[in-house]
Structure formats: structure tokens, C-alpha cells
């Protein structure tokens, strides 16, 4: 009985986590990237999964906005889960490969939008300091 409950709960947890991560991404997917971020990241209009690591490296160079931290961690965990699925299950079920690639690309776009916000945040901080 405990094994059955564990399996059901783990499956539900996975599904809720995926949907929650997608709901976080959905809020940012409609935002266009600024020309500056497009130049820096090399993302033209749509991102690819491979861009994620590079955008995260760029994010680490910018001052952190506290409100981004939790969301970014959740999406980072989601991206790792997608990488795991892509290197294991997707090899057995090819249909999963295109799904994981699409999701990974959206994670990269989410990270690029976050980078855009951080750059704007840093610029505002600098402007405030100059005024003072």
C-alpha cells in the first residue's frame, strides 16, 4: 500500500512541478527581449535549449534581484529535469525529444527575460546613485 501511495504521489508531484514551472515561464514568454539582451545572448527572437547555460552565466554577472531568486531556482531545477528526461526517457520515446527541446528553449527564453529585468534593475540603481 505504501509503495502504491509513494508511486502515485511521486507521479503527482512531478506533474504539479512541471505545470508550476510552466506557469512561471508562461508569465514571461510574451515579453519581447530588448535589442541589448538579444545582442549579448545571441538569441535572435526564439531561444534554443543550448542558450540556457550561457544566459545563466550572464545572469550571475548581474546584481541579483531578490524577487527573481525563487523563480530562477525553480526553472533551473525544471531545466535539469528536462535534461535528465532528454538523456534517458527521450532516447526510448523519440516523441519526447521534441517536447523536451521545446521546453528547454522556453527555459532559456525565461532566463533571457530575467536577464533583461536585471539589466534594467542595475541601470535604475546606477541612475539613483548618480542622482544622490
Amino acid at each position: 500500500m505504501a509503495t502504491l501511495i509513494f508511486l502515485l504521489s511521486a507521479a503527482a508531484l512531478l506533474q504539479f512541478f512541471i505545470s508550476y514551472s510552466r506557469s512561471l515561464i508562461a508569465a514571461s514568454i510574451k515579453q519581447p527581449l530588448s535589442a541589448e539582451v538579444r545582442d549579448v545572448t545571441g538569441i535572435p527572437s526564439t531561444a534554443a535549449g543550448e542558450d540556457f547555460a550561457r544566459v545563466i552565466q550572464l545572469l550571475d554577472l548581474c546584481p541579483e534581484r531578490p524577487e527573481d531568486r525563487g523563480r530562477l531556482r525553480a526553472i533551473n531545477a525544471y531545466f535539469r529535469l528536462l535534461n535528465f528526461v532528454s538523456s534517458t526517457l527521450a532516447r526510448v520515446i523519440p516523441a519526447l525529444m521534441s517536447w523536451t527541446e521545446m521546453e528547454r528553449a522556453q527555459c532559456a527564453y525565461f532566463a533571457a527575460v530575467t536577464l533583461d529585468r536585471r539589466i534594467a534593475f542595475s541601470r535604475d540603481m546606477l541612475a539613483q546613485q548618480t542622482e544622490v
Binding site: 505504501a2 509503495t3 501511495i5 509513494f6 502515485l8 504521489s9 511521486a10 503527482a12 508531484l13 506533474q15 504539479f16 512541478f17 512541471i18 505545470s19 508550476y20 510552466r22 506557469s23 512561471l24 508562461a26 508569465a27 524577487e67 525563487g70 523563480r71
Partner: protein, 231 residues
């Protein structure tokens, strides 16, 4: 006594619980999600109460054990009621409040009876056993109900972003707890559970605080793209 990591997670959890209420008050969402906020407030007060009892009587005292298990059962019932209010939010235009409330009460009574039956058959017939069993079963019932609620949200194309995120984070919380309880039953001597449950306990208030603080009540999203299996 719990070690410093245990205290840190406990303290962090209590801070996050209060921050949910503060964020809801700041964004005028306290009354809209009254039961969710009352649950967080009550959870914070019980954390303070547990700390007081722990400091007075010690971790191994029967006073602390009783206080811990009874307060946990009351908290779980509170969370169950908070979940039911989310149902009321989703069904608010259908005028089915009466039926939702009646079903919720019957389900709660059924879970209590089932837990009583399980304790009656076991060697441990103490009230504490019943309280522990009730908490565990309510987590699983909560998980199933949240899953049904999520299905309903997708079916009805509910688009309120804040409500969707509150439901999804609650679903993740219930399933994480139910999975951990099940693992605990399978491997009772594993020490891995010492920190994992309190950490899960921190994630729910974190997600709710974010939903209240960052999302406007009018923000909308297309639910179709949130489903794991696209329709």
C-alpha cells in the same frame, strides 16, 4: 534538541508563513483568500507554540509529542479547509457552494472514520495513533482533491494566474508530503526525513508569498499550455 540546521529551517519556515500574510495584506488579497491566510497565520502561531513547549519540556517529553501531533492534525484539517475554499473560488460562478461544502464535510468525516478503523485494528490504540493516522490520510486525500481541482481548472479553462499558482503549489506540497510519508512507512529507520519535511514546509509559503506579491489578481494565462499532456 534539534540541531542548528533544524532550528534554521524551522525559523525560516515561520518567517515565510508570516510573510505570506504580510504580502496578502499589502496586496489586498487577505480577504479574498481568507482561509489560506488564516492557515498561514495559525501555522505561524503553532510554530511559536511548539518552540515554547520544546523550550519548556524538551524534545523527548510527552508534552511536546502530544502538542506536536495534535497541532499537526489541526493544521492539516485547516489546510484541507483552505483547499476547499480554492474549490469555491473555481466554482464561484456555478452556485454549487452548498454541495462543495457538504462533500468536503462528508469526506473529512469519512477520512476520520477510516483512520479510526485503521487504529482500531492495530496494536497502538492510543489517541495519538489516531491523530497521526488522520494527518497522513488527510495529506493523501488533499493530494487527490488537489489533483481533481487541477483537472477541473484545465477543463473549465480557468485563467486566473494567481489562483492557478496557488493550486499548483498546494498540489506539489501535498504530493511531496504524501510521498515522504509513504517512504517513511517503507523505510522507518532512514534518517533522510529529518530535514526533508521541514524543507517542503518552507516551499509552500514561499510559493504563496510570491503569488500574492508578484501576481496581480487580474493577471490571466492560457491554461492549455500548462497541461503536461497537451490537448
Amino acid at each position: 534538541m534539534p540541531d542548528s540546521i533544524g532550528y534554521t529551517i524551522w525559523f525560516l519556515g515561520a518567517i515565510l508563513e508570516v510573510s505570506v500574510v504580510v504580502c496578502a495584506l499589502a496586496k489586498d488579497a487577505f480577504r479574498r483568500y481568507l482561509c489560506l491566510n488564516l492557515y498561514m497565520l495559525f501555522s505561524f502561531l503553532l510554530s511559536a507554540g511548539r518552540f515554547y513547549v520544546l523550550a519548556q519540556f524538551g524534545l523527548r517529553s510527552s508534552q511536546y509529542k502530544y502538542f506536536y501531533y495534535y497541532s499537526d492534525a489541526v493544521l492539516t484539517i485547516f489546510l484541507y479547509l483552505a483547499l476547499i475554499t480554492l474549490y469555491l473560488h473555481v466554482f464561484d460562478e456555478m452556485k454549487v457552494e452548498k454541495y462543495v461544502r457538504l462533500t468536503a464535510v462528508l469526506l473529512l468525516a469519512g477520512t476520520a472514520l477510516f483512520s479510526y478503523g485503521v487504529v482500531q485494528q492495530s496494536q497502538n490504540k492510543m489517541l495519538t495513533g489516531f491523530v497521526y493516522e488522520l494527518s497522513q490520510n488527510l495529506y493523501f486525500v488533499g493530494l487527490v482533491l488537489t489533483y481533481i481541482l487541477w483537472g477541473t481548472i484545465l477543463k473549465l479553462r480557468e485563467s486566473r494566474t494567481q489562483l492557478i499558482q496557488l493550486v499548483l503549489s498546494l498540489g506539489a506540497y501535498f504530493s511531496a508530503f504524501a510521498a515522504t510519508f509513504a517512504l517513511q512507512n517503507m523505510f522507518p529507520h532512514l534518517e533522510f526525513f529529518t530535514y526533508i519535511l521541514p524543507v517542503f514546509g518552507c516551499l509552500l509559503p514561499l510559493a504563496w508569498a510570491y503569488a500574492f506579491l508578484r501576481l496581480s489578481p487580474d493577471a490571466r494565462m492560457a491554461t492549455a499550455r500548462l497541461a503536461v499532456v497537451q490537448r
